[in-house]
Amino acid sequence: MTILTQLKEQITAQLPKLDMVIGWEQGYDALHATPLFMRAAEDVERLQIGPLSVHNTATYLTGLRNKKVGLVVKGCDSRAVVQLQQEGLIDRENVVVFGFPCDGVADLTKVRRLIGDVGRVEEVETTPTELRLRVDGREEQVAMSDVMADKCRRCQYPNALVHDHFAGKPREPHATSDDYTDVQEFESQSLETRFEHWKSEMSRCIRCYACRNACPMCVCRDHCIAQSRDPHWVTQDDMVREKWMFQVIHAMHLAGRCVECGECQRACPVDIPILALKRKMNKEIKEVFNYDAGVDPQAIPPLLSFQVEEENINERGW
């Protein structure tokens, strides 16, 4: 029995007790998946998992707080579940988690950079090492190693960290540690270079807020400071300053909360590498508090608690 079949059986069995189960299905073409909301047994048939199931299903959870929701999760999605649970933003007893071993997802921006903007993809065959796409009758092959999302290369938790059902056997982590080399490299540049980098990147922002909407930890909804006039942190002026201000606020609000699912960056229509800002904050949090977001449901996120003195900032020497 394949993992997918097993997963479908598990979901079908639980579905009567749930309002819905969220997973993925094929979207407008074979390359693009889209979230699937399974309410009836026949919906389950359309479920797909694999390298194209990129979305973080946990993003919907806070909007469905009073419903009984099943959730098919990759490892990184499950970290969002854990973090939301830690922060009291979901009721764990209302959520049923279906896990499976995740082999990593494709970064469609990387695919596009390799084969160009090819239009409608008719068929995609996925193997452990390759994606074979049929476009306009011809076949394109890309190695998974070339298009795997960066987050998957450093993924330490490919098996759902919390789950009520698990299909298949847990797999080896893709990496054993994350030393934030990408952040370190970026930081090794001069302040001016870094400043110019962000100025030019942020100049492309169209303020669609797809990054925010895709983020499972963004829970302010109608009250996001991006639009709010009270408090009036950012204005609607069309200026890099305002766009960047929003990203900085987002990064600050996600410090020690961001589970690095990369949804913000994936959702960005103009490919601004905004995950770097959140990784920078997480790196600091890791150094100061030795804390990883969304790993231990019992842990308390360091910036959401108050201690007179932190263990690693021992100023008093008691």
Binding site: V219, R221, P231, H232, I300, F306
Partner: protein, 652 residues
């Protein structure tokens, strides 16, 4: 909105380096400002009357005063605008003195900066809302922490003012350091004779509940309504039964126990009553030395005790008390003299601290008041006193003066001559600090009448030679080296914050300085208050103090408590946080960070929401900084007000 701006010259304090008239003129350009003026002293009576008149004449809705630090005069001006009929929160202050005139000499730059700070205040005022205080009940009981002379005085004065007092003392008896002293300067009256009656008063006062051998474990709540948990250690003796007869001490075979009361000059029994005048006069077993508690055998005291008071399996207990105010009077402890290796403190038995010497002088001390040196019990004939050991010395991180050592050294020199008429005393000093009524006369007496030899200079080393101690030092007045062959050396160990003082300060949520001494609210004008409402200071926990000063501050703290308790209701400070229900997602992060437990979770139509308990919130703003939704805002310091201030600064 109509705003008036008043720019103060503060005599020449501000006027000297800021063109106040120009600041007033420039302020006319700020939005909503309809009236400006510059005034010589805004806080003076004519100054305040001018503000009131301007409010009335121009129908002002709010006022900015550009003057000094809000710490002093914000309350003054709030009352002023209130007298003119405005809400007292329709007022802002720009500090153009501490932040401008006192720190820069360039009049042009200063004036510009003063204009900018005034502009910021105007922007904040434009977003101010009238705020109204809530009233709440007050619990008119007071907790006094520390039963030294300062705490005793505070407790007695409060109790005499007809208020219930809870007195918590860490040791098994009250009295503090003063109980260990032989005589006291400058009158050389017997310390226990003048302290003893006060201690008895504490024991007998119906309004005072004393917990000895106890420490404060936890403090919750706020002014008027503190909840205190007190940890009472186990004395292994039922104090309700113990009569203090002392029979147990006579028979206890474990005679090598640490004698804390006698500053470890000699040792004592495992079951012990520290001194005859102890209050409460109850026996305590030291579990480190009790043979029954360490080895399971013995139990002689239990057999001998006529009231069967010994309880070997006694446990410590936690007691809860509710009070409305707290006086901290935890005193000081002594600098560790072994830190000066060259003096041999802790290593050479005949190099002792001043407090140990007090015990040797005292008739109730281990030697019965006969001065005998610790090493061989011989009466010393040459005694050297070394001052400033752990005071006024940056190299040991004790740059401050301990205040009372000059005086007690003179006292001890005098007493030495009284005890041993054929003795000679030397005092090595840096300079003599004796300001105070009859103090300088007293040190003069030590020199002139008692023939004490004062040598101005530091001691460089002390080393043993035969059964003597060689004290080598400099005489800086003569410009020579001196060497004295001494029988006994007394080091005037400096005063340090009491052990555990910073930890207690944090429980009390009061500030403490680098050395652990508690911080007063204002060094000159609020020396008894702390920055936490309802918490007051008495005695040397605030900085080294002699007995007269400690007693005075004890009484002062009591006066503050009684004044607080004179009201039937207290008003909260309305600068508190409030939750915007629409925005709140009920994550409870604010609940978790609030150090005052001021936020509770409530249920609003099936959804969890946060709610601030208005009388508990102290307006610290932690929750506002934590709430990712911006759902909780601090009144009078909203995000919008802060942003408006920043914007004003960036755009000016």
């Amino acid at each position: 909105m109509k705003i008036g701006v008043f720019v103060c010259h503060c005599g020449s304090n501000i006027g000297g380096t800021v063109d106040a008239a120009r600041v007033a003129e420039a302020s006319r350009e700020f939005p909503d400002v309809v009236f400006t003026s510059d005034t010589m002293y805004a806080c003076s009576e004519p100054g305040q009357d001018g503000i009131i008149q301007a409010i009335k004449d121009n129908q002002l809705d709010g006022v900015v005063v550009s003057s000094c630090t809000p710490r002093m005069h914000e309350p003054t001006f709030r009352r002023t605008v209130e007298r003119a009929g405005l809400n007292r929160f329709m007022f802002e202050m720009a500090n153009i003195r501490e932040h401008v005139s006192w720190i820069g000499k360039d009049k042009e730059a200063n004036t510009n900066k003063a204009i900018e700070l005034t502009g910021i205040a105007v922007e904040k005022l434009r977003r101010d809302q009238p705020l109204f205080a809530k009233q709440f009940d007050i619990n008119k009981r007071v907790l006094v922490i520390g039963g030294g002379v300062a705490g005793i005085q505070a407790a007695l004065d409060c109790a005499d003012g007809d208020r219930e007092v809870v007195l918590v003392e860490r040791e098994s008896t009250i009295g503090g350091k003063m109980a260990k002293l032989d005589k006291t300067f400058p009158t050389v009256d017997c310390s226990s004779c003048i302290l003893g009656p006060k201690m008895v008063d504490v024991a007998q006062h119906p309004k005072i509940q004393l917990y000895a051998m106890a420490e404060v474990e936890e403090i919750g709540g706020y002014v008027g309504n503190y909840e205190v948990k007190i940890r009472r250690k186990a004395p292994y003796v039922n104090w309700d039964l113990c009569t203090g007869c002392g029979l147990c001490m006579e028979k206890c075979p474990s005679k090598k126990s640490t004698d804390r009361f006698n500053e470890q000059v000699g040792s004592t029994t495992a079951i012990n009553i520290p001194f005859p005048q102890a209050i409460p006069k109850k026996a305590v077993i030291d579990p480190k030395f009790c043979i029954k508690l360490t080895k399971g055998k013995c139990g002689i005291c239990a057999k001998i005790c006529p009231t069967k008071a010994i309880v070997f399996d006694q446990r410590e207990e936690i007691i809860s008390e509710s009070v409305g105010a707290i006086v901290a009077a935890t005193g000081y402890d002594l600098f560790d003299i072994s830190k000066y290796g060259e003096y041999g403190g802790g290593r050479l038995p005949d190099v002792i601290t001043g407090l140990q010497y007090e015990r040797l002088l005292s008739a109730s001390g281990p030697t019965g008041g006969h001065v005998k040196r610790p090493s061989d019990g011989k009466e010393p004939k040459t005694i050297v006193f070394v001052q400033c050991v752990g005071s006024r010395d940056k190299s040991v991180d004790r740059p401050y003066c301990s205040g009372f050592c000059c005086m007690y050294t003179a006292k001890q020199a005098i007493l030495t001559k009284d005890h041993i008429p054929d003795s000679s005393s030397y005092v090595f000093y840096m300079d003599i600090r004796s300001p105070g009524k009859m103090y300088d006369e007293f040190t003069r007496r030590a020199m002139e009448e008692y023939g004490t030899q004062y040598v101005r200079g530091r001691v460089s080393m002390i080393y043993p030679q035969g059964d003597k101690l060689m004290v080598r030092g400099a005489d800086t007045l003569m410009g020579t080296q001196v060497e004295v062959e001494a029988d006994l050396v007394v080091l005037a160990a400096g005063a340090e914050a009491a052990v555990g003082a910073p930890q207690l300060a944090e429980k009390l949520r009061i500030s403490y300085d680098k050395y652990g001494f508690f911080m007063e609210s204002h060094p000159k004008l609020r020396p008894v208050e702390t920055n936490t409402a309802g918490v007051y200071l008495a005695g040397s926990c605030q900085g080294p103090k002699d007995i007269p000063a400690s007693v005075a501050q004890g009484s002062a703290a009591a006066a503050k408590v009684l004044a607080l308790f004179a009201k039937d209701k207290l008003e909260n400070d309305p600068m508190i946080s409030l939750v915007d229900m629409k925005r709140c997602v009920g994550c409870g992060k604010c609940v978790r960070v609030c150090p005052f437990g001021a936020i509770k979770e409530i249920d609003v139509r099936g959804e969890p929401k946060a709610e601030v308990i208005e009388t508990v919130c102290q307006g610290c703003g932690l929750c506002t900084a934590t709430c990712p939704q911006g759902a909780i805002q601090l009144s009078h310091f909203t995000d919008n007000q802060i942003l408006a201030e920043v914007n004003a600064l960036c755009q000016l």
